[in-house]
Symmetry: C2
Subunit: 409 residues, 2 copies
């Protein structure tokens, strides 16, 4: 029987991520930048807005002219003109004057606030009554009030949501420097695996992992590249691995589950140039027989064969490495697990992190996490799952009713 | 002064979504289907797995041969052979026989379970000791145990996650029928708006909404198409609107915020062929001045000009329409808001739904939602926001410490 390998705890495995370099950067059009990771911080080179703007329809006014006014005691002010949209008003206003202004219009010189149209009455062509006092700065955005010149607009390492691309657009950043999407090669192994295009004969199954891994990689912002299915043969796997490494920023070997395949994988990983087997087994369940090797600057993973184990290992272990090499700065990234209450007791073995698939259900206004039972090889358990919950290394289990953090799947 | 329009409540607005037809379907490769919406339910045409498989490394056995065994009282069984991976074993086993088997191997005839290698000892080339009894079905997946023939694999209207694409691969579905991605035209309006490529002169600002809306559309599975910036002119807007409608499944008019622009928008929408103004004002804040028109079978939206209002209206009002026309079945879709505790009191006006931007912070193991204060025209409030919380129509406000559901942004 083979020697038992010494497993590494999850935290130590994740710390290896900083051993791997980040991918290169590229300049792309802002229009194509949604979802990408900014590689160079962008600063505000002007104030936003660059002029004081109205946030209401009404009259630009000097606030002091409205002080003390009320319905019983209105102020009578003279209409100096109308602020045209999109240009600088050609006039200024004095202490008892106003100018018609629309939302977004530029305040004329002399005005420091806007009185809403609802709080005024037109008396004649040149005069309005104002019933309500406004404070200086009211119903306007001051120059630089949104973003002052010099502020960091978006920091390096931040993933660009719609609002960040909008902010960059406001400053005319037509192009941005982002990290390239990490290219991740996937090699499927195992004598029992056939492609989706083939009809399996008895004893064979189709390659599921190439699809689940490709989808998870895309979701994580990477580009999956399949290098096909390799039989249990050292030379073939070594050759395919070398090809994949030359074209990828990371390689995943989606393991056939037989002892033979696992043996080939570790042998091949050990034989790669400047190879270092960093991890041979992780104290998590499912996913224990995971291998991480470093060859030159590249991470190469030997993933467990079972579809559910592979998905859990990807989500919990591999994804943080993709985030790292892809340039994501966790400091600038904001991820929140949502919480739910556990619907039943779960026992767990100590000495390892355990990940339990759960299905979420709203009942009486509470979000419940129902553990999904069933053997770990069943893909239907992943299809029924909405997320994973974690049971810590030194925990014997979780009690019904406790609040758990849910990692969405 | 203009007549006040009668606002529609949010629920009634959302009910209009079913007035609009779903987009057409298309056949695509499974490999490209991640994130798409299935248009035709797919059933299991065979059992998965299609043969009984081992889930452990060990020995295939007839369970009854192990009954009553223990370390003190092992069973001595004869090794009949080794199950090759990926083919049907050429032998069957009798009541006192076993076969070496790897995880994923096909059970030979006569076997109904697998005894783990850890619970055995090799005595000689043909004999093993078994220390532990197994039950029939233990450490194996029975034929059809994952998905029995005839089951629905993925229902129509379901959005395809990595696990659903994996499941479809297991059944050899190389191509799937999905809904096309809805094409959504965006027209920017307003005399004060210039494109990201231009340098604004005083009084002008760059078009932010085209970027925020494009990003939100992509996130919602749609294809944004920009039809440029139109000045405040009836004929130009009418013409551009007609062009956009001919090429899109829905049109968004991203409003300039001036009274003039708003007037043009409603006039143009009223003049479109077979036009019906379904909604002119919604009782939500921000976002009240939103317009929804139907022209022939198309939804055309007049969105408020301010960037924050537009984003909120998109998320709360427009997205459900995109989901509908894009084929998403809410019945099959599983969306969960996460909950947080409110960090301070918020007052709210009655008579409308109110959406408050919040920033989430973990403190003492609790996720707190901090309301983001600041004028609604400030894009920095959206950049700082992690989500929105909703305050109901008949609520005067929310108290510090209550649990709120967070809509992620």
């Amino acid at each position: 029987m083979k020697e038992f390998f010494k497993v590494t705890d999850l935290k130590s495995v994740l710390e290896y991520s900083s051993d791997f370099p980040r991918v290169k950067t590229e300049d792309i059009l802002l229009d194509e930048s949604f979802g990408r990771i900014l590689a160079v911080s962008v600063n505000a080179d002007v104030d936003l807005p660059d002029f004081a703007r109205s946030t209401m329809d009404g009259y630009a006014v000097r606030a002091s002219a409205t002080f003390g006014t009320s319905e019983a005691n209105p102020a009578y002010l003279t209409i100096k003109g109308t602020v045209p949209m999109g240009t600088s008003p050609a006039f200024s206003i004095g202490s008892d004057e106003v100018a018609r202004i629309s939302t977004g219009g530029m305040l004329p010189e002399g005005a420091d606030s806007v009185v809403m149209i609802e709080h005024t009455e037109v008396i004649d062509r040149t005069t309005i009554e104002v019933y309500r006092s406004v404070a200086p700065g009211q119903h306007i955005l001051e120059k630089g009030e949104d973003i002052p010149k010099g502020d960091v607009l978006v920091p390096k390492g931040k993933h660009l949501r719609p609002q960040e691309t909008g902010l960059l657009a406001a400053f005319g950043k037509e192009a941005v420097t982002v990290y390239k999407k990490p290219v991740v090669g996937i090699i499927s192994t195992g004598d029992e695996i056939v492609s989706v295009h083939e009809t399996p004969t008895p004893g064979q199954i189709r390659d599921i992992n190439i699809y689940t891994l490709s989808g998870m990689l895309r979701k994580a912002g990477a580009v999956p590249v399949s290098f096909g299915i390799v039989r249990d043969d050292f030379d073939d796997l070594f050759k395919t691995c070398t090809t994949a490494m030359a074209q990828s920023d990371m390689v995943l070997i989606s393991g056939g589950s037989s002892v033979g395949t696992r043996d080939f994988t570790i042998d091949v990983l050990s034989a790669l140039p400047e190879s270092d087997i960093l991890v041979h087994g992780i104290s998590i369940s499912p996913g224990k027989p995971t291998i991480l090797a470093k060859s030159r600057n590249l991470a190469i993973w030997g993933l467990p064969g079972q579809v559910t184990s592979t998905m859990v290992v990807f989500e919990i272990v591999v994804k943080p490495f993709i985030n790292h090499i892809g340039g994501l700065s966790l400091k600038n990234e904001r991820n929140f697990k949502f919480s739910a209450r556990l619907s039943r007791n779960i026992a767990s073995a100590q000495g390892r992190m355990e990940y339990i698939r759960v299905r979420l259900n709203h009942k009486n206004g509470i979000l419940w996490a129902d553990p999904i039972l069933g053997k770990s090889g069943l893909i239907n358990t992943m299809v029924n799952a909405d997320g994973l919950i974690e049971i810590g290394t030194n925990t014997e289990g979780l009690d019904k009713g406790v609040t758990v953090a849910v990692i969405p799947l």
